[in-house]
């Protein structure tokens, strides 16, 4: 059961960040992740600050430079259904559509999706693990088939978000507000590696929230996609996912961004693969080699070696599907 909490619903960003600067507070957007965390005792705030009164944080709009501004409170369903996003930022629309279930997408927000807590069953369960301040990571020697094959150190979670890898592949930036003002940073540098700090997944400090997600103007000959593999058809996180953003120059790849989900504690840039693709025509051999390079540095745990094959498989499949006609 959800413990006793106080609740506030400010109507301005200023008020909201002020409220959130006080210790023991936490932001509440759609609540789809937060309520579960409260019920399971994963977070124990004294006061919940609802963002739902901040109407400026809702909606999708064109920016002056032809890019897109998506308010942090925009729901995943709105993102998945948006015509422009489907046309020009396909990976994001596909990622949003593949998350959770229709009900959750109607309620969950894009900002919340980036800031949701990990789904590791030890973290979520009655286990005092490192991420909760304990001494050990239970996944290391325990049941780890859903855990990471890249970047695991101290802790072997995977980052749960589907939208994050798509946004990183599309070179998104996030605007962060605090009581002193706002700043924008590349989303790629938003997430925190457990090697640096095992207790948090992103760089937000108390009193900080995401206000919007910014997408750069689409270049012509840009193609993107998100492919997610899961253990059941819906209402399930990624076993492995890949977001791909390719800029073409004719038939040749000009620049590639390959970002994996479900396999690392942060959205995982497959840098080697990105480099391997630059300047190449996507023929069968190039694709096969690229897919192989994506998993070259994987370090599986006892139960998750399948993720190597899976990731290679979906990278292969996605690259083939993105080839220009």
């Amino acid at each position: 059961m959800i413990p006793k909490i106080a609740y506030a619903r400010p109507h301005s960003l200023k008020e909201a960040v002020k409220e959130l600067s006080a210790p023991g507070t936490i932001a509440h957007a759609g609540g789809t992740d937060l309520l579960g965390c409260l019920r399971d005792g994963i977070v124990t705030p004294e006061k919940v600050i609802s963002l739902s009164g901040l109407s400026d944080l809702k909606g999708i709009a064109r920016t002056g430079d032809g890019g897109l501004r998506i308010g942090a409170l925009t729901t995943l369903a709105e993102v998945a259904d948006d015509h422009v996003i489907n046309e020009q930022f396909t990976a994001l629309a596909e990622a949003a559509a593949s998350a959770a279930s229709p009900q959750l997408r109607n309620q969950g927000t894009l900002g919340g999706n980036l800031c949701q807590r990990p789904r590791c069953w030890y973290f979520r369960g009655e286990f005092h693990c490192r991420r909760k301040g304990g001494e050990i990571c239970f996944a290391m020697n325990g049941r780890n088939e859903f855990h990471c094959i890249f970047g695991g150190q101290n802790c072997f979670i995977v980052h749960p978000s589907d939208s994050a890898p798509a946004l990183v592949a599309l070179e998104a930036r996030v605007r962060i507000a605090n009581s002193r003002g706002t700043r924008t940073i590349p989303l790629d540098s938003f997430f925190v590696d457990p090697a640096k700090d095992v207790t948090r997944e992103n760089i937000l400090r108390p009193g900080e929230i995401i206000t919007e997600i910014l997408l750069p103007a689409p270049v012509t000959q840009m193609r993107s996609s998100y492919r997610k593999a899961r253990a059941r058809g819906a209402w399930d996180f990624a076993l492995s996912g890949v977001a791909i953003g390719l800029r073409f120059n004719g038939k040749r790849v000009d620049q590639a961004r390959i970002v994996l989900s479900g396999v690392a504690p942060i959205p995982w840039r497959a840098v080697e693969t990105e480099q391997a693709l630059a300047g190449k025509i996507l023929d069968g051999e190039t694709v096969a080699r690229a897919a192989e390079s994506a998993v070259r540095s994987a370090e599986p745990l006892s139960d998750n070696a399948y993720k190597i094959h899976l990731t290679q498989g979906i990278v292969h499949e996605s690259l083939m599907a993105l080839r220009p006609e």
């Binding site: 979520r124 239970f138 049941r143 399930d236 094959h309």
Partner: protein
């Protein structure tokens, strides 16, 4: 050879005796067999239906149970002082409370435990209970109880539990007695075989997780106890509660009008119900308990995991010469049974069969009957083996099965089945599925491959015959049906009302069903074991026929004709001879004077010398992505001989529901314990424990009722359906996956993770 009578090559069936004279099943029907929506659909959908969890009584308290967080521990000390003084807390029970010092029984094994056993043998074992004036206060109080546990070594897996020196769950070790049954001579059978195959199949522990979590409300009135319970059988709960409280049955009333699913996990009295009744007695107030979702994963039953070694011998002509099954399963920390052997012994003709079964204790929640207990597991082994044997002798798997269809039960002295629709299930199913064409043309090459598979099954229990129904016909021509049976979501009330409508010609809207209340309805067995329709509909029919007979007699007297001149249709009496007259029931004076006609029907015994059992065959087409291990079930056909189909809609509900559940068992569901580390269940929630969703069930889904017109099984011609529907599903899928990939997946469930690991191995090391 008649349609349902297959050759019996060697053995002679026992002599069949004629079924007892009496009502014969209907020929043509008007209501029975149609697509009749649930008579309580509006109540259920609108929220008007009152489930146990909806009950709210004046002054009612709320209970919650503190459960052991360890797989194996002794409760050393408890400190209740803080919890006792919390606002709204009214009572706390522990193993030290004199009123709660009660033994707890597991089957016929004697008192193996206590209501609160300080020696906790599984995660979720009851340690203490609180009653408070709100659910929140009860849960808060649980958190305030401090318990000092002595953690004990534990064992989570079957094979570990069998090892020398494994931590014993009970004194005397973990390994139960080997139960052996044997017929013929398997050594001889294997010697005669042209092909002998042996394989070890494994299934995982599956959980019921019904939509409505387990719940009870208890209220005392002096020494009379009333319990509302989310149960599959109010009379079972009444009987055991009466024993626990030393009360006459007449003083215990159990009510279970609506309930939100059980699948077997609500077939027995739960500790939570006894605890709730004790708290209600101690506080002199009504008390309610609703288990949390997590609790339903830990301590109200499961389908045990099994390891099944199956050896089979077959001759080149398709004769199965020997079957040998060695099964080890674990029903958890207490005796619950993990046997699976039935199908090996009875589904196909085979003269030499040996089954050896052992139950092993582990430190995990105890099993309870789960939709066809043992059968989907055995089908997983046997039906994959049948597939492998067929391919070895170069016979089509459908043909191979057809060659071995039994007409009699080999486990019961070759007593004939009333009907064996297995042959028609196989042939009709294959025809509708397009089996031959699919087999010949399906694409098994490339990255995305398709395959088809078949599996068959039967259910092994004919059900209870102890059931009484009462039908009351009111003077206005409306009717009341009184039955003790619970409608666990399967549409029991609707089907039984259809029987009344059939006999009395009263429209369904004018029939009210009173059910599942030990004080006001007559006895019915629990709704489980696929017996609900079979056990109750014949009694209902007899009660309705009694009313009908009496009504026609009265009408004949009043209309001055003979009963033979009258018929009863659409709520009116019609004369068949001139002058033609139609008298609506409410105009019948003799009925008006009596206000009500009452008919009582007792179910007849099973036919002597014959066994009525249902059969099934299911066909699956799958598509496997060999790069990712993802499998889609693209098409599914289920053919069922469950005797007469009573209602097309509830028939489809059962079959589709059974298949969905079978898909879960076969592809995604399993209890995962943190073996070797904490022993705790890591996926006790609906996200990590993966039940199939709407997109995981096949888009193309057909179910066929193969009605063999069984005139002997009972007076409604019915056999069970709920369980057969889920028995062959997983094996049919596994066989289709084999067809597509050449990989025999012996471990259920076939998750994409497992399949991909096997596919990757295949790429490296050839076919598995």
């Amino acid at each position: 050879m008649t349609l349902y009578d297959t050759t019996m090559p060697d053995d002679k069936p026992a002599d069949g005796q004629p079924a007892p004279a009496g009502l014969k099943p209907w020929g043509e029907t008007k209501v029975v067999g149609t697509r009749a929506p649930r008579i309580d659909a509006y109540e259920r959908v609108s929220g008007a239906a009152i489930y146990t969890q909806d009950i709210s009584l004046p002054g009612m308290l709320h209970a919650a149970i503190l459960r052991c967080p360890h797989p194996h521990a002794n409760v050393r000390r408890m400190d209740l002082s803080k919890a006792k003084n919390m606002p709204g807390v009214r009572a706390i029970l522990t193993h030290e409370s004199p009123s709660a010092d009660l033994p707890w029984f597991f089957g016929d094994k004697g008192p193996m435990s206590k209501l609160f056993d300080p020696h906790c043998r599984y995660e979720g074992d009851e340690v203490a209970a609180v009653a408070a004036d709100s659910p929140h206060r009860a849960w808060d109080a649980l958190k305030a109880i401090t318990v000092e546990y002595e953690e004990l070594p534990f064992v989570s897996e079957i094979e570990e539990a069998m090892k020398e020196g494994a931590p014993p769950v009970h004194e005397g070790g973990n390994r139960g007695r080997v139960r052996t049954s044997e017929r013929g001579d398997i050594a001889k059978g294997f010697a005669e075989a042209d092909v002998v195959l042996e394989e070890t199949y494994r299934t995982s522990c599956e959980l019921h997780t019904p939509m409505e979590t387990h719940a009870s409300v208890a209220q005392w009135d002096g020494s009379r106890l009333t319990v509302w319970d989310s149960t599959q059988g109010v009379f079972d709960v009444q009987k055991t509660l009466a024993q626990y409280f030393g009360l006459p049955s007449s003083s215990v009333r159990v009510i279970g009008h609506y309930m939100g699913g059980g699948f077997g996990s609500k077939l027995e009295l739960g500790k939570y119900t006894v605890i709730t009744a004790l708290l209600a007695r101690d506080t002199a107030l009504p008390v309610k308990i609703c288990l949390s979702r997590e609790e339903t994963f830990l301590c109200v039953g499961n389908r045990p995991a099994n390891i099944m070694q199956l050896k089979a011998g077959v001759k080149n002509d398709g004769t199965i010469s020997a079957l040998h099954l060695v099964n080890v399963g674990s029903g958890g920390a207490y005796p619950a049974g993990s046997g699976v052997g039935y199908l090996v012994q009875d589904l196909y003709l085979c003269r030499n069969v040996k089954v050896e079964e052992t139950n092993v204790f582990i430190n995990a929640g105890t099993a309870r009957a789960m939709r066809a207990p043992g059968f989907p597991q055995c089908a997983w082994a046997l039906e994959q083996m049948m597939d492998a044997l067929a391919s070895k002798i170069g016979m089509d798997p459908v043909e191979f099965r057809l060659k071995n269809v039994p007409a009699y039960s080999q486990t019961r002295n070759n007593t004939p089945f009333t009907t064996t629709g297995l042959k028609e299930c196989l042939t009709e199913g294959a025809r509708v599925f397009g089996w031959k064409e699919a087999k010949a043309t399906i694409r098994r090459e490339g990255t995305i491959r398709r395959g088809v598979g078949v599996a068959a099954g039967m259910w092994g229990w004919e059900g209870s015959t102890v059931s009484t129904a009462i039908v009351k016909l009111f003077a206005d021509g409306s009717a009341n049906l009184n039955i003790g049976a619970s409608d666990i979501g399967t549409g029991t009330k609707t089907v039984m009302a259809m029987v009344v409508a059939e006999e009395l010609g009263v429209p369904l809207e004018r029939i009210q069903v009173e059910n599942a209340d030990t004080a006001t309805t007559s006895f019915a067995p629990s709704s489980g074991g696929s017996q609900t329709v079979v056990a109750n509909s014949p009694a209902v029919r007899k009660a309705a026929v009694e009313v009908r007979t009496r009504l026609l007699e009265l009408a004949a007297e009043e209309l001055k004709c003979t009963v033979a001149d009258l018929s009863l249709n659409d709520g009116a009496i019609q004369t068949l001879t001139a002058p033609a007259r139609t008298v609506p029931l409410h105009e019948l004076q003799s009925l008006a004077q009596r206000e009500m006609l009452v008919g009582v029907g007792h179910r007849d015994p099973h036919p002597q010398g014959k066994i009525p059992l249902p059969f099934a065959a299911q066909f699956a087409e799958v598509e496997v992505n060999t790069r990712t291990g993802e499998t889609r079930i693209v098409k599914f056909v289920a053919a069922h001989d469950s005797g007469r189909m009573m209602n097309r809609l509830t028939f489809e509900n059962q079959v589709f529901g059974g298949i969905a559940m079978g898909i879960g068992f076969g592809t995604s569901e399993r209890r995962i314990l943190d073996a070797g580390q904490t022993g705790k269940m890591v996926n006790a929630n609906w996200h990590d424990y993966k039940i199939p969703t709407a997109v995981d069930v096949p888009p193309e889904h057909t179910c066929i009722s193969v009605d063999p017109h069984d005139t002997e099984c009972n007076n409604t011609g019915t056999k069970g359906l709920g369980e057969p529907a889920t028995i062959p599903t997983a094996a049919a899928i596994a066989n289709a996956i084999f067809d597509a990939t050449g990989i025999r997946v012996t471990q259920a469930p076939v998750t994409p993770m497992q399949l991909l690991a096997l596919l990757a191995g295949q790429e490296k090391g050839g076919r598995q």
